[in-house]
Amino acid sequence: MSGVANTFYNTLVKRNSVYVSAIFAGAFAWGIGFDVAVTSFWDRWNQGKQWKDIRDKYATPAEED
C-alpha cells in the first residue's frame, strides 16, 4: 500500500510541472467521462421515450421524402 502511495508521489507529485499538467489532463478526461456517464444514464432512464428509440416506428415509410 505504501508502495503504491510512494509510486504515486514520485511519478506525479514530485515535480510541480508534472503535477499541474496531470491535474489539467485529469480535468479533461474527467469532463469527458462525466459527460459520457451522464448521457448513458439519461438514455437508460428515458429508454423508449426518445426519438432515436421510436424512430423505427414512424420514419420508415417517410424515407422516400
Binding site: V4, A5, Y9, Y19, I23, F24, G26, A27, F28, F34
Partner: protein, 280 residues
Amino acid sequence: MAGFQTAVKKAVTLPCTVRTLSSGVPCAPLLNLAARAPTDGHGHGHGAAGPRSDVPPKWAGGVARSSSSGLVSKTITTSPTSTFTTPRLFHTSATNKDAPQVPDAPYQAQSDSTNRALSYFMIGSMGVLTASVAKSTVADFLGTMAASADVLALAKVEVELGAIPEGKNVIIKWRGKPVFIRHRTQDEISEARSANWKSFRDPESDEARAKRPEWLVMLGVCTHLGCVPIGEAGDYGGWFCPCHGSHYDISGRTRKGPAPLNLEVPEYEFNDAEGKLIIG
C-alpha cells in the same frame, strides 16, 4: 426562608478585605471579631498564643457595629487605604483541564511519507474538480454567444440543381436577401471568360467568381443602393438595375452605371450525391 437567612448570616473567617466607602472610611463587612489566632503561631512571628500582636491598639481606632452599614472599622491613625476596589477571587481547587488525556507535545508524523500521497491526492482531486468546473463555466459562457438553433436552421439553403434548365435564372431567398442562381449556357461561359476583366471597374475574373462555370451564384442586391437587379437585361446580357441604371454582365460584374462593385458572391458548395447546391 429561615435556612437561607442563617446561611447568609453565618460568620466566616476571612482575611480582612477592606474596601473604601465613598466617605473615605475603610469598611470590612462580615468580619468575625470573635476569631482568635491559632495557637501554633503558624510562623509569622508573633510568638506564643495570647492576644494578637497584630491588632492595632485601642487608641488607633476600632471596630464598631452600625445599623446602616454593618461593621464599621474606624482608624484614627493615617493609614493608606485602597483607592479602588479589587475583588479577590479564591481558587482552592486544581485547574480543570479541558481534555486532560491530550498530550502536550505536538503531533509528529512517524516519517515524511506518512499520509503524504493521500494529502497530495486530495489536493489533486480538488484541483481536477475545480479545473473542470472552470472549464465548463467558460464553455457555457462562450456557448451563450453562439447562434441559436433557429438562426442556424435558417443560415443554410438547399437548392435542387436538376430543376434549373440551362439558360434560366432562379431567385431564392437566403437570410432575407435574394440570391440569383443562373445555369449558364456554353456561349455565356465563353463570353464571361473571354472578357478583358482587368480593365473593369472592379476587376475580377470569372474563374474567381464561379466555382463551376455553368453555375453562377450571387447575391441579388445592387452594390449601388441595394435594389434588386432584373435578370437577362442590360447592355451586357446580364443584369440591369432599374433604380439608377447599373449594368452587370453575365458574370455579375459591374460594367456600366453607378454601381461600384460586382455583385457579391456568397459562400456556397455543391452536393453532388444529391444534386444540390447549398448556400451558406
